[in-house]
Symmetry: C2
Subunit: 176 residues, 2 copies
């Protein structure tokens, strides 16, 4: 894994890919599937996300105040769905689905070795957690896997329908 | 335009498309380009978004507490970028870029006739506006254009690089 400058983190999340979120709590790591996230600030990168209080990860995220957001390419789509279909209450999802937890540098939650990008995050604001399950995260450290060239991400349209990244177009934008 | 059930709104925004946001303030409509948004609740649909206080639309959104989120397909990409490159302080962007404002039903902000989906929204929560420019919107009414079949959306990767929707895959997901 190679360090990604924090100023480029938004280029990973702004396009709306399905991501994995890992947590570690009471000595046990877990991983969930998530699509409700957005950028809030470029640098330091702030990310908002919604983690349902029905998810096993909710308590871990709230208590540990740390997580990793891992971005999978389409090759992992079947595993990503299996992660979403099951709960860390019942199984060790890393072992069950062949995902490899790797030590992170700034947080206890693990990186996911198979993902092309991993973002180590701490919880920065919990004011909207009680009402909306909405967390504001700060990305402390970002990693990309140089071996995965031009990874194509997936975008969820509901009920297991995903659109895969297609062609790239470039237009003269003044927008960052 | 045809009514879309509110329960399906998340299927439009969860995949992370670049969208337009219209506002109306002091008798004048405006439109901006936006990628920092996410779903917060299924139904009634709640959407979080970040509108920079540097944008002309910020004051209009805060004062009027209403907007429309319009979803463009790739055919509008060049116009979407022009909207993002300019400010409503200087020009009437609808006229300048050939976008057609259409009356909405529940809000003063206009629909964008050329977009394949339009969501009429009111501001539901402003607690994170001062700190993060983050608004929570409630979608009051949703429209889709039945004439636009299988629209392909665009996803921003920074500096005018956009990835267009590619192929669709279907997996057995228990997730809504």
């Amino acid at each position: 894994m190679k360090v990604l400058p924090l100023s480029k983190v938004y280029q990973l999340l702004e396009p709306g890919p399905v991501v994995l979120m890992t947590t570690a709590h009471k000595g046990r790591a877990n991983v969930m599937t998530m699509s409700w996230h957005m950028m809030v600030e470029f640098e330091p990168p702030l990310v908002a996300c919604v983690v349902s209080s029905a998810n096993h990860s909710f308590a871990a995220l709230r208590a540990s105040r740390e997580c990793v957001i891992a971005v999978p390419s389409v090759g992992l789509a079947a595993k990503v769905v299996r992660v979403g279909n099951s709960s860390g209450r019942d199984i060790d999802k890393f072992e069950a689905f062949g995902l490899t937890p790797m030590p992170a540098q700034s947080v206890a939650a693990p990186l996911v070795a198979e993902c092309f990008a991993n973002l180590e995050c701490k919880v920065a604001d919990t004011r909207l957690v009680n009402r909306y399950n909405l967390f504001i995260l700060e990305v402390l450290r970002a990693w990309t896997d140089p071996a995965q060239k031009k990874p194509r991400t997936i975008h969820h349209h509901g009920y297991g329908t995903f659109v895969v990244d297609g062609s790239t177009i470039r237009l003269k934008s003044k927008m960052r």
